[in-house]
Symmetry: C3
Subunit: 337 residues, 3 copies
């Protein structure tokens, strides 16, 4: 059996883990990145493409003996229509993709899981506090902006429309900007072991917002630079232990809700992107229904994965392990779609 | 022999390490957290409690064959009186607890160890620079505030009294707020090996102060939000190597002073919470006389513990190792109290 | 064979790695730090010195059977003239030192490698945006300052001259201050394996700039404290996977350029110190032609080194491994100078 993934996001970790679990590996990579992926001995096959349509053809070469591991760049690069043409089995539940792509459905899933979420403003007119305006889809934060009031929201949306990032107001979600610190809780729901594991925690490293604080006060005052939120990396963290039972309860609720609303529910990795407030509330403002790039920190295991496993367990390896267990039990069809 | 701890703070790490060293393990946990701790196979026994008095009863069930590992939440949750009723042996020196609980005694221990500390203002009237006002006990930073001058100090103390967080001015300590970067140096003093080991370094992740910097300048200017300092996690770091000899010298001095003032002195983990200034001075503004939550980062060993041990050594495991060595030498009574 | 280094910077990691590869080890340490280095069992010999001239004598004791691993503190502590008197073989290419010490030559090397760099202002009069003014040599950021315009640049240079940190304007480099987030890409060029490995990524932890953000807005407004940039530690990070092919291409270009301009070119560790902008551009504002202290984070391997090696590989160990391979192939002379 071959485990494959698209050459971006967390491909190195995924294939490194797959190899450790004894699988053949393949990366489906843009021709320009072929040389890059050739550096890593755990990648057995490089299926290079020169167009996005061709990428789908390359992926489908594995349809008889392969499993594709999806990640945040898959839908983002290929687009929904091309993803629908993928015939190779995909790890996890494909139906989660459309919930993930739609900020409004996303928040509904969280709300139904009894997870604390930020206030959502359906109409610009209702904005009465600091908000963050987000775009649908996992674009790595591109285009997101902060606004203090209605008129700043309107202005920002106009800018997005003018710069052709969106077509209409409908494509944004207006969320209360919760004051606190960001913390991204990564989980793995194992259908085979019937449990949700806390995998790790990361903080996103965003340009230019995480750089602006290095500017001198006088300069900021004079130029008032606009913060941007493009994710370019991740920083590791652990949480106060008393936060973990709450985080895990949220995660278990989330798994349950997806079983009801998007059967057979989430399978494998997911992430609850949160702000922790000074009341120790975990406020989840977004989720990812697949592996997040923050797990790239933990190629040799995370402070939490070491508690579950007595071996170095990356999220990539954890996925491969789940496939291996399912395969051994002849239940592979339960973890792919 | 059984190693037990209260279910919070660094319990997972402590019990994971104890199991690795071959001990039976027990967590004394709030009934509501029972399910949470049941996820981890290295926990052999869950002694659940429904009241704090009952927690003490559960702890005392281990009095014949157990050792309790204390951490920051023990005194904070149970309170001094209940802790005094613990009959189970406690790892380390119980007498350190009262020094730790009293900010003024704390600073005295540091001063006598020839460790650089921030200016302390005994009287509000003496305040002549930016200060941080702190509460006694390890409340995770709750209630701490910054003040630029006498009147802000007075106002802040009134607020604390009004909100019933303190009863009088006597319960706070007013410290110079040293300009520099926070760095928390974790150590382990081994009575058995007669040495102080540098264990690791962390930076506390505090809400909302570490989130406020993400707010746009205009918003801050208009709303001037008050920073809060509630610790919700930790971020790993290493120090410039030339800082380490100074840090270790401080640590050795500290061990020596505790032997004199609180015999038999500190045993096991402690932490020197510091600000490093741009003169490369390490200014210690607080210490913890037991395991700190920042060590939760290093479940598989830290960049420093790998230098001492050729195996993954967490602080939890290091404690268990010390107990094991003491037991083998029939000197257990020297490391517990 | 003995591997030695000067007792500072990354000495612990270097000697720990050397011991793992089976070498004898020696640290050449200031007498005051002798006790410190005695704590670590992987250090076989401590050659202590009481003057910098004596340090050279100590280093030269290893001239028949030793290899000295250079790091950022070597040239900085000893000065060029003393380094020229070192007869012991030095790992890597000594000639890189002078390129590294000269900010202008540095930028030339990067420019010729087709690496994006910040605008450089040759004359104070040309300054038309926010700039950072830097001093030659790796002084850990000491003396660096930000300036918004010509007059602030002039004032800052006068201050440096008055405080005797520099003698003339010629000793500084005036660089555009690129808005984005810092990210330091660490590499290892293996002459033996004929490849450039991505080793790891770190963020420098600088005092007081990384602490100022914790000050309340009102205090900053009133006092407008000057940021300083003294590196006192490092924080780990990973980059978005799509940045890695670009970073590695830059690194390969850099290796090629050094082969042309400073034959036989860079050998072993180097670092491209970068700002990542919100266009996802990697702008390299400096390089280090030897091991950087940021690799101290990865004593047990980094998220990237685990992808190349199935064993814990620190940068210190990687250097020792290269020496071992070269020695086995009887090609030691190709990796030392």
């Amino acid at each position: 059996m071959i485990i494959g993934t698209l050459g971006s996001h967390s491909a190195l970790q995924i294939l490194h883990g797959a190899k450790k679990e004894g699988f053949q590996t393949a990366v489906v990579a843009d021709k320009k990145r072929e040389d890059f992926y050739r550096n890593f001995s755990f990648i057995d096959n490089i299926l290079s493409y020169d167009s996005l349509d061709n990428a789908v053809i390359q992926i489908n070469k594995m349809k008889d003996n392969g499993i594709l591991i999806p990640h945040g760049s898959l839908v983002e690069y290929l687009g929904k229509e091309r993803v629908d043409k993928i015939q190779t089995k995909i790890f996890g539940n494909r139906k989660i993709f459309e919930w993930e792509a739609d900020q409004k459905k996303k928040m509904e899933l969280l709300r139904k899981s009894h997870i604390k979420i930020p206030e959502i403003f359906e109409r610009v007119e209702d904005v009465d506090r600091l908000v963050i305006v987000k775009l649908n889809g996992a674009k790595g934060g591109k285009g997101y902006f902060l606004a203090k009031n209605k008129s700043e929201v309107k202005e920002g949306i106009s800018n997005l429309i003018n710069s052709k990032m969106i077509k209409s107001e409908e494509e944004v979600i207006i969320q209360e900007f919760v004051i606190g610190v960001p913390m991204y809780f990564q989980f793995f729901y194992s259908y085979m072991l019937n449990r949700t594991e806390i995998f790790g925690i990361d903080i996103r490293y965003e340009t230019n917002i995480d750089g602006l604080r290095r500017l001198p006060y006088n300069y900021i005052k004079e130029t008032n630079p606009s913060p941007t939120f493009v994710v370019v990396g991740n920083i590791p963290a652990v949480a106060r232990e008393s936060l973990l039972p709450v985080a895990l309860e949220y995660a278990n609720n989330f798994v349950k809700t997806t079983k009801e609303l998007v059967p057979p529910g989430i399978i494998g990795p997911f992430c609850l992107e949160s702000i922790v407030t000074d009341n120790m509330d975990i406020v989840v403002f977004e989720f990812s229904g697949r592996i997040v790039a923050g797990t790239n920190l933990y190629v040799n295991g995370s402070p939490y994965s070491w508690l579950y496993w007595d071996e170095p367990m990356s999220m990539g390896r954890r996925i491969a392990r789940e496939i291996k267990i399912a395969n051994e039990k002849d239940k592979l069809n339960l973890v792919v779609s």
